[in-house]
């Protein structure tokens, strides 16, 4: 099919693309046309070509990436083969996955004005646009801050504001909410929806967490590495997708045969009200495990300069517990994990792990018992092959640990053992870093946003693995914004806020009824229902 599109939108006609160092094309004869003012979500597993497809829209592919490109991409009448990316900047705004690498000035205001300066926009108009963007994204208090000092979520909003400031006809975003807490993600998505509805901005957004974005979309395109893409109205496409690739609400609808499939919680509630099924009582939270605590924080105070992040924080974790640390961006989750690992020296208080005071030990010594997965998994990897990475960890654990092949297999990396870790996709690299940590068989595991960039299938596998480790007696502290994952595998949830513990308890006690941290199933049924299994696994018909 030859795709055509109204002016202002874009179209791809028979686009095929192969990266210079890859044997197979990432995109094969892609035909795609998007109308002006559409809100499109692009989904699909890691490595299916979402980022590549998005980069075609502003000419980064092939102008910047090289490789072999065939077919045609037309944006607002311009052929991207004949227009440089910087000359398409006023038509296509682009927000990258990593906000840190795309911010280039030392002040938030200047960052927003950067694109306007490049376009020669007069200063009074620039000032007006900058003010509008600051208000729109809710970042006015940050206007004089250096972007390097902002949290990940704040930086992402600055990046979105900078892209929007030039008033592009199309805004392309590559996983813009992956680093955001639920509030931050909702703010960004609400802003995008407003721009889409009020100004007719065409939004194209790649995202793994469909539960966050699909309600805002009027079109969904699902890519696959080995099958033709699905493309159409979200409801129709989600009715065709594999149930394992769906967010909980849609998956529940598919499992229970709801037709039409609900996309929003409101739609879901309407179906539930009319549903005659009687649910069994929800499961209860597990009893806290016994035994001596392995991780103990006593009145821990820590911060950066004069800015305190943790204030007299008290926390204990025991073997067999998977503690989810939740809270808004900047609430101290990462600082807490770094303090436990000995990387961030507290200003006050005491931290002990397995009975040892962490202040008296080098992190390399603590590493014999603690596994730590940082937010940037690439920092862990340096060897020529994945197998060598795991051997490196084992060497520093005196050869004691788990079977590397088994760890790789569990993480779906069995075939990648001889590949260079730096050649892996983002999601694969995250799992490779986790493998490099898990092979040491740590008794305490610290994970900082481990599901970032992971598709549903990989997330499920990771959840199963962490659950197995917990059952085997490991203590796991996991900082995350991923409410659905927490609902499935956490045995305890600790909400951080204002430098301390705001709430601490079982997942059903903490997540149920929470305005921002309740999973989709709980929003639907309330009570103690958190997961699909709570409802589907034991549903009885009246």
């Amino acid at each position: 099919m030859t795709a055509t599109a109204p002016p202002g939108a874009f179209s791809l006609d028979g686009v095929t693309y192969r990266y210079p160092d890859r044997p197979d094309p990432v995109l094969r004869r892609v035909d795609w046309a998007v109308a002006e003012g559409a809100f499109v979500v692009v989904a699909g597993p890691s490595g299916s070509g979402k980022s590549t497809l998005l980069r075609c829209l502003n000419g980064l592919v092939p102008h910047f990436s090289g490789g072999r490109f065939g077919g045609r991409v037309a944006v607002g009448g311009d052929d991207t083969r004949t227009r440089a990316t910087h000359d398409l900047g006023h038509r296509v705004g682009f927000v990258f996955q990593d906000p840190e690498a795309q911010l280039v000035t030392g002040r938030v205001e200047d960052e927003i004005a950067f694109g306007l300066e490049q376009r020669g926009v007069p200063a009074p108009t620039m000032r007006q646009r900058v003010e509008e963007m600051l208000d729109l994204l809710g970042i006015a208090p940050l206007r004089d801050r250096d972007p390097a000092t902002l949290s990940g979520g704040e930086r992402q909003r600055v990046a979105v504001a900078a892209a929007l400031a030039v008033q592009p006809a199309i805004l392309v975003l590559d996983e813009p909410t992956s680093q955001l807490d639920p509030w931050g993600a909702e703010d960004v998505l609400a802003a995008l929806t407003r721009l889409n509805e009020d100004l007719g901005l065409t939004v194209v957004l790649a995202e793994h967490r469909l539960e966050r974005v699909v309600a805002h979309a009027d079109r969904l395109r699902v890519l696959s590495a080995d099958a033709p893409a699905l493309d159409g109205f979200p409801r129709a496409i989600m009715a065709e997708m594999h149930v394992d690739a769906l967010p909980p609400l849609a998956a529940l609808g598919r499992r229970l045969g709801w037709n039409p499939l609900p996309l929003t919680i409101n739609e879901g509630r309407a179906v539930v009200r009319a549903d005659p099924r009687v649910l069994p009582p929800p499961p209860t939270d597990p009893s806290p495990p016994g035994g001596a605590p392995t991780v103990v924080l006593r009145r821990v105070t820590a911060g950066y300069g004069r800015r305190p992040v943790l204030r007299a924080l008290e926390l204990e974790a025991r073997p067999g517990e998977l503690v989810a640390l939740m809270g808004r961006n900047g609430s101290g989750k990462t600082t807490l994990l770094r303090a436990v690992m000995g990387f961030h020296r507290p200003d006050g208080g005491r931290i002990s792990v397995l009975g040892r005071d962490t202040a008296r030990l080098h992190p390399a010594d603590l590493a014999r018992d603690i596994g730590y997965l940082p937010q940037q998994p690439g920092t862990l990897l340096f060897a020529q092959t994945l197998r060598e990475e795991l051997a490196f960890t084992l060497k520093h654990h005196g050869g004691k640990g788990r079977d590397p092949e088994e760890v790789l297999r569990q993480l779906g990396l069995g075939r990648a053992a001889d590949r260079n870790p730096r050649d892996l996709s983002g999601g694969e690299r995250e799992r490779a870093a986790l493998a490099a940590v898990l092979v040491g068989a740590p008794r305490v595991l610290l994970l900082d946003e481990p599901t970032r960039g992971m598709d549903y299938a990989r997330k499920r596998e990771l959840g199963a693995l962490l659950d197995a480790l917990r059952r085997a007696g490991a203590t796991i502290l996991m900082a995350t914004h991923d409410v659905e994952l927490v609902a499935q595998i956490a045995t305890r949830v600790v909400l951080l806020g204002n430098g301390g513990v705001v709430a601490d308890g079982g997942p059903r006690a903490i997540l149920s009824g929470s305005l921002t941290f309740s999973p989709q199933v709980n929003k639907l049924y309330g009570g103690g229902y958190l997961t699909l299994a709570d409802v589907v696994g034991e549903t009885a018909t009246a």
């Binding site: 980064l60 102008h63 910047f64 910087h86 000359d87 900047g89 006023h90 296509v92 682009f94 990258f96 990593d98 840190e100 690498a101 795309q102 280039v104 000035t105 030392g106 002040r107 200047d110 694109g115 300066e117 490049q118 376009r119 020669g120 926009v121 200063a123 620039m126 900058v130 004089d144 250096d146 390097a148 000092t149 900078a162 892209a163 030039v166 950066y304 300069g305 004069r306 800015r307 770094r338 690992m341 990387f343 080098h362 390399a364 590493a367 014999r368 730590y372 940082p374 940037q376 690439g378 920092t379 862990l380 340096f382 490196f392 960890t393 520093h396 654990h397 730096r422 490099a436 940590v437």
Partner: protein, 352 residues
């Protein structure tokens, strides 16, 4: 974050920095060096906030003091000239053998002080100068160069952060670097990560319209603009050199002429029209900036004048005989003007 960036114009600060650097660059007179050191320390105390988290360059200053101390010892051990012998090492000892003189120690100390002054000036400027404002001073046609410089500067702290993250990540795997071979786990992710970040930054710049062609093109430019600017720049540099080497009048004339030519080239409207990149902020020159600029220029002129008429007041040689250094009241009065930023500093606790 407390913003330590200055409310004074970066051009005025640059003039102050140049004036404050002249004494340690031109001579080793102890009185002039001490007066300059005290002035710079006072300015630093007034402008560089003590707040933690502000990159004040204190580590660099400590490093400079260490180098200065090492320099004193090195000078004393390797320079065996002078009339005030303190001790003597056996002549058969290579390099260090011979007389240890008070002259060498004095020269080493003064060189150390000069080094510390230069580092203090540099670190003070690095805190008070707003880099973005500084880059906006670059002519519009050189904007791509300025942005590239800005990105490079922004890259430095990112690289430092990446290095910390990598060291932590490796330590978390039980790795503790002990030798050169252990640098591999550190350097490989640093280089590959840096490269990836550089590529992403370049992509982001491209996607945000950096380098977009908006202007009328080179044909509309004044054809002599470049040569005139280059000649003016050469004349300015030559003038500075002439002034420093004692030909004050000729030097000042050359500087004046050179700056004038650069100004003529910069104001060419046809050249301006060729690139329509606009600026979000325009530098605002205030009376305080004028005061600082005038004080700095007066300091420099006083120094150059005294150096031309009374060289010993700026330059002092402890070799071959240790003599009492000269002093010059006009010079010390001129150096007092280096304290101008102290008087122009905003009240303590206000936002700078």
């Amino acid at each position: 974050m407390s913003d330590a960036r200055s409310s004074l114009d970066p051009r005025a600060w640059l003039l102050w920095g140049m004036a404050a650097s002249l004494v340690p660059l031109l001579g080793r007179n102890p009185f002039a060096l001490t007066a300059t050191l005290l002035a710079v320390v006072a300015v630093r105390a007034a402008w560089v906030p003590a707040a933690a988290g502000v990159v004040s360059g204190a580590g660099l200053v400590r490093l400079a003091m260490l180098f200065a101390a090492v320099g004193v010892v090195f000078n004393a051990l390797t320079v065996h000239v002078g009339d005030r012998e303190l001790a003597r090492l056996p002549d058969r000892w290579p390099i260090v053998g011979g007389a240890l003189t008070l002259n060498a120690v004095a020269y080493g100390v003064l060189s150390g002080v000069a080094l510390v002054i230069l580092v203090l000036v540099g670190t003070t400027l690095s805190v008070v100068l707003d880099l973005a404002s500084l880059l906006r001073l670059v002519p519009a046609r050189l904007a791509p160069v300025a942005v590239a410089g800005s990105v490079a500067v922004a890259f430095a702290p990112q690289t430092a952060t990446a290095l910390r993250e990598i060291r932590e990540a490796q330590a978390a795997r039980g790795h503790r670097p002990r030798g050169a071979r252990d640098l591999v786990p550190l350097l490989v992710p640093l280089l590959t990560g840096g490269l990836e970040r550089a590529v992403t930054t370049a992509e982001a710049l491209e996607a945000r319209g950096f380098g977009a062609t908006l202007g009328a093109g080179p044909a509309a430019r004044w054809r002599w603009r470049g040569p005139v600017a280059a000649f003016g720049l050469a004349a300015t540099v030559s003038g500075v050199f002439a002034a420093i080497t004692g030909q004050a009048t000729a030097g000042l004339l050359a500087i004046g002429g050179g700056v004038g030519l650069v100004g003529v080239a910069a104001r060419d409207r046809r050249g301006r029209a060729a690139f329509r990149r606009t600026r979000y902020r325009e530098a605002q020159w205030s009376k305080r900036d004028t005061a600082l600029a005038l004080a700095s220029v007066a300091t420099a002129l006083a120094l150059l004048r005294v150096r031309a008429t009374d060289p010993g007041a700026v330059a002092w040689e402890p070799y071959p005989a240790l003599t009492v250094p000269q002093t010059s009241l006009p010079l010390l009065a001129g150096l007092l003007l280096l304290l101008a930023p102290v008087l122009l500093a905003p009240p303590a606790g206000s936002d700078r």
